[in-house]
Subunit: 440 residues, 2 copies
């Protein structure tokens, strides 16, 4: 069984593929395999053969003949002639199936972000122990070749930092707010109407989806076991149109970023809305597009960008993985890819220790001494102010005013301490809004 | 010999590497191989062993022991125990060495852009015929994983178009002109002072270096045999600061782009300065950085960006290639990568047939009726004008004026015919300056 494909003889080398799930991505994968089969077989050095497809409903029309369909996942997993399992059902339930496939010495291709983010370390080790491959380009960034770039292009480099836009919904909403001056709620409603956001968008706009993807990428970039959480996770729900206007005034745009940095002793993993220079490449990644900027010690900056979701782009990534995995099966050298991921014990730094420049927006009752009090509180915690502006509305004594401060580099803990000191002040109409500034 | 690495036995699997050249890139490659040897061996599934290094001067200090050095390229090529040859001497003379290496069934890794652009098709076929691999990530875009992305991420997709910034010198000069208002000459002098431009910069600023790289990428994107030339090659030498100012006024930036498009019956390959929207990602690729934007039928847009030159980034690309090639050697499945490049007969369209929007700048004696005559000439060749502006200087009758027109979509042949019609006009102080506009 271990060398199933070889045993069938050199002349008719076949790699047999079992699929779990045949929804949008699965159907697109089958379509690509059929359309490009000659080219793919040539690259793999063997004939790719879809052997079985497990689906919920065998009565529905599928891009493969009904004789290949089964409602039984077990039937796919128990088939000793199947070399590679493609898991496209998603969700937490697939964990057991992937584990069983790896234990049965089948290589696995999956686009299951959730599982990778929770159990990626364990699954990589399981695959490695059983000498098979685990490939997951489709799990992060849809059609963007970010996993491939990290694993292959950076194979002889050291990743210093990773900065990315990894949630299409958040990026669409922020782009819409900037371009049309729309409120968060209106922009989100439009994203939902266009099918870019789930009915329950919490995971996306709350920053958690991006944070999960960051954890998966941190495994490849820093050898960090996913599932230990991030230093800081913030979503975009509290961003207001006024923040976009102030950011623009200072030459910045607001993007929801994931940021991973290797500090040697610890790594820092953050996901939050961030002000970045408007002329930076990441600032110009708009709509539902995703991008990841890597900084390598030798390679310098390297950015990959494209569609972060969608059936067709994800399917292209799954097929690219299938080529790699099936080639290793055909050559009898499975498991090399997995062994290349060197997991280490990495400590994730606490958010309080992180440093950056800050944008702080105050909504205050405009009375004498308020500006001095705000500046004083920051100053007393060694947070130094680079710029301070008040909004352009006519200022009547006693009216509400918006004050924005940009700070020099400071520690998160210091900024939070300064804001805590201000909290009891009666002139604060609402809690201050804090955004981080990065020069990417 | 064909299975040299296998014959030495499974237990001590070794892949022996011969290097031609040990300059900046070569020394960096040796450094990376030494620094990351454990990680690399694990990924390859064998021990990488640098067996011989051919250099001009064996007396100079090198990052390998003197016992590995030789002044004889023949000694490397004739060594039956060497599985892989890394060619880093560059230039046209290396053609014969690469051919001999491939004929001796050694896989080849090279960063030689010139050879690939002239003889890429023949070398790929030679490698394929002898069942070995030819890898050349370092030949185009230095540290950018563009070859890998085209070959692997797009393996099951169809590339519709490819748009790139592939010459760091030109991009640095244009960025400098935009940011500082510098003249072309001043910006180029600065590039030379910083080591970003050759003493003779013709190949770079004349557009030919970028065009050669486009030909290499067109081989992978469209199956087109390199060496047949481009539809159009123009450099940046005629761009003036005033062009940057006008472009900015219309919301564009000027970038030197390569553009490849698959029209089905023909392909179009162009390299020229281009106006692109200032908020596009490519418009914000500054300085010596390179970028390539691919548009896939299934994948949609996919951009890779990074350092297009330099010893360290190129060395990382060469080592990434080495991993792939050596893994195939170790697994006994050499040649799969090469066979995956499906060369076809592709016809390159003539430039006259190409279509785009145009920016046309006229320097004219400002007399009555001139604007009407300019507009009339374009109109009589069915080139429709979208916008027309005259520069902001005070206009005295008889003084010189600058008139810029942006056209709607038109054929190159029509625009050229209109300009030819205007050529005899006495009011034209200098030949009109034509730039193409693309919505990338």
């Amino acid at each position: 069984m271990e060398q199933a494909s070889q045993e069938r003889g050199e002349g008719a080398r076949r790699v047999r593929i079992g699929m779990l799930g045949c929804g949008t991505v699965g159907a697109a994968v089958l379509g690509l395999l059929a359309e490009h089969h000659e080219r793919l077989d040539r690259r793999v050095g063997a004939t790719l053969e879809v052997a079985k497809v497990a689906v919920r409903d065998t009565a529905r029309a599928r891009p493969v003949g009904p004789e290949l369909l089964t409602t039984s996942v077990d039937e796919v997993l128990a088939d000793p002639t199947i070399d590679v399992v493609v898991e496209l059902i998603g969700g937490a339930a697939a964990l057991e199936w992937i584990e069983r496939a790896l234990e049965a010495k089948k290589s696995v291709v999956t686009a299951n972000k959730l599982l990778l983010a929770r159990h990626g370390g364990r699954l990589v080790e399981l695959a490695s122990r059983h000498g098979v491959d685990l490939a997951f380009e489709g799990a992060v960034g849809g059609g963007i070749p970010i996993v491939r770039t990290l694993r292959e292009a950076f194979a002889s480099d050291h990743v210093i930092s990773l900065t990315g836009i990894l949630n299409g919904t958040s990026n669409f909403v922020l782009s819409k707010m900037l371009d049309d001056g729309a409120s968060f709620e209106a922009a989100l409603a439009e994203a939902q109407a266009l099918g870019y956001a789930e009915a329950d968008p919490t995971l996306d706009v709350g920053g958690h989806d991006a944070a999960q993807k960051l954890e998966v990428l941190a495994m490849l970039a820093f050898g960090a076991r996913p599932g230990s959480g991030c230093s800081l996770v913030e979503g975009i729900t509290a961003i207001e149109p006024v923040d976009h206007r102030f950011a623009a005034r200072f030459g910045y745009r607001i993007k929801h970023l994931v940021i991973g940095r290797d500090h040697g002793d610890v790594i820092e993993l953050r996901a939050h809305p961030t002000l970045i220079p408007e002329r930076s490449v990441l600032a110009n990644v708009s709509g539902v597009l995703n991008a990841v900027l890597l900084e390598g010690r030798a390679l310098g900056p390297c950015l990959v960008y494209g569609r972060g979701a969608g059936g067709a782009p994800t399917a292209v990534s799954v097929v690219a993985d299938l080529i790699d995995v099936c080639r290793s099966v055909a050559a009898g050298v499975r498991g090399l890819g997995t062994r290349g991921i060197g997991l280490r014990e990495r400590q994730v730094a606490a958010s309080a220790a992180s440093e950056s420049r800050y944008y702080v927006r105050f909504r205050v009752a405009d009375r004498p001494g308020v500006m001095a009090r705000l500046a004083g509180a920051l100053g007393s915690h060694a947070v130094s102010i680079e710029q301070m502006v008040q909004d352009g509305e006519p200022v009547r004594p006693g009216a509400a005013a918006t004050v924005v401060m940009l700070t020099h580099r400071a520690r998160e803990a210091q900024v939070q301490a300064a804001l805590a000191e201000l909290r009891p002040e009666g002139f604060l109409i609402e809690p201050p809004r804090v955004l981080r500034i990065e020069q990417v």
